[in-house]
Amino acid sequence: MTHAADRRDLAWWIDRTMQVLVLAGGLSAIVFIAGIFLFITREGAGFVFDRFDFREFFFSPRWTPTSNHNPTYGALALIAGTASVTGLAMVVSVPFSLGAAIYIGEFATGRVRETLKVLVELLAAIPSVVWGFIGLSIMNPLIIQVFDVPVGLNVLNSGIILGLMAAPIMTTIAEDALKAVPDGYREAAEAMGATRWQVTFKVVLPAARNGLVAATLLGVGRGFGETMAVLMASGHSVNLPTSPFDSVRALTATIAAELGETAAGSDHYQALFTLGIFLFIVTFAINLAADVFVRGGRRKYRRRGRRPAASANP
């Protein structure tokens, strides 16, 4: 019996070609992330290998790259700036985001719930430069007036702004985590006579713990990497902050503010790329950790089953 039908026809070849093309699309994500690391390392390498002093970078608050006789590259104040702003932002937004996620996920129903979700989504869409502008033009005079301080561009200002910015993403992820808890858990608890808030606190929140940690981590990542809002609202002075009313300068803002004034290849230029490498590594670690938590959360309720797509190499 002959099998004339068994030919690798046009459809087979097209399928093969498309398979390679879409794989290339998928691989591009890896290429890009590797490319980012490679290119910022390439620009910053000179500094990292020749000039970089671990102790100075991490423990000196003196960031004076433009000093003529003795430029120093201590990033401590910048790290402190980033940390203080991000920290305040988290203090402000973690409870509110989780509260909002609980309200949207566990209490609100129907149209109210959909509307709130859309509003949260719209909040996430506001560009960071607009947030920065809000800090500059609305929050600044407000803080000066309310707290009677000379400058309103400070940790408090950018912390609140950053908190509002990070809240939508945390709310969304936290709500996803709550939603991932199977309804069976809730029903079982309710059948035993627990009220809604008892179910929420005793059953749902513990079950969703990993996802909530991931949400917080992603919020931290967002705050840590935010540039324009922090640049515009934090007051821009290299400073180890001692109160929320101190002005600070964040890592990201330093790069944004100074890169334009440096000569390509100079120590200062390379030092700014080194800050970039540091930012890249830290955010990478945060995202990795968040991913581990998200997976950990999901694995708990995953059922065995066939996945839609298999490896097909006919």
Binding site: M1, T2, H3, A5, D6, R7, R8, D9, A11, W12, D15, R304, R306, R307, A309, A310, S311, A312, N313, P314
Partner: protein, 261 residues
């Protein structure tokens, strides 16, 4: 192009299975299946849920390629040739029509549902497609109900109509083998009877493997019937013999008499 395996001795055998075993993610779902499906006949497969009937069908048309974690060992020959020797498994699948337990009307018009297979093979001519669509819908006993609304969505037909649409779509492949997997599960009894009539007519043209949860359906239609139980083939027997107490294995008799399952 080399033919990997020599043709089977008897050309009356459409599907020749030797020592078939199927695993999902390493877990055995079906093993030790050796059977021959005669050509131009209806071959019944019965057995309780999870006995490996659907896996058996998926091995015949090489759906293991599209299913993560599914491994097949042993040999399955279709028309004398090992299915795994096909360089283009899509071409193999085009020769094999499949009907699913739950009807699947694709989210396109009724016309496009039936014309899809021909279009994929490069038929562009509208007149040719019209002929194919009408012929297949008629043979699936659906034409009279849908001929005035061929442009409505196939996925919004009733369950019974969608199942006949699925059959029409399978027929449009002009298959030499038709695999039916518990087609009557979501279909009303009247439609089931009509489809059974269609199948009786079709068996002169193609080999039909009828996996069914209704033992009486196998009795009505199949000449030979295989009984699968918990991942094993218990036996293959002439259907009438099986129902008249002449089964080789007492479990088969117990099953067809409704003592379990």
């Amino acid at each position: 192009m080399s033919t990997a395996a020599p043709p089977s001795a008897d050309s009356d055998c459409a599907i020749d299975v030797v020592d078939l075993a199927i695993r999902y993610h390493g877990q055995l779902a079906l093993s030790g299946v050796t059977l021959k499906v005669p050509a131009h006949d209806i071959f019944g497969v019965i057995g309780p849920a999870n006995s490996g009937k659907t896996s058996f069908l998926r091995a015949v048309n090489r759906m293991d390629l599209m299913t993560a974690g599914m491994e097949v060992s042993g040999s399955v020959r279709v028309e004398g040739r090992d299915v795994r020797s096909w360089r283009n498994p899509y071409a193999l699948r085009r020769r094999i029509g499949v009907v699913f337990p739950l009807p699947v009307g694709l989210p396109m018009t009724i016309y496009e549902n039936v014309a899809l297979s021909s279009r994929l093979r490069g038929t562009r001519n509208k007149a040719d497609l019209d002929v194919i669509v009408e012929r297949c819908l008629r043979r699936a006993a659906l034409w009279d109900e849908v001929k005035d609304r061929l442009d409505s969505l196939g996925s919004l037909l009733s369950g019974g109509q969608q199942q006949r649409l699925t059959i029409a779509r399978a027929l449009s492949q002009d298959p030499s083998i038709l695999l039916l997997d518990e087609f009557s599960i979501a279909v009303d009894p009247v439609t089931t009877m009509r489809i059974e009539e269609v199948l009786s007519e079709l068996k002169s043209e193609m080999t039909i493997v009828l996996v069914t949860n209704l033992v009486q359906q196998a009795r009505r239609l199949a000449s030979q019937t295989a009984f699968f139980l918990t991942g094993e083939l218990v036996e293959v027997t002439e259907t009438e013999a099986m129902f008249e107490g002449a089964a080789q294995d007492p479990r088969t008799t117990a099953y067809v008499e409704g003592k379990f399952g």
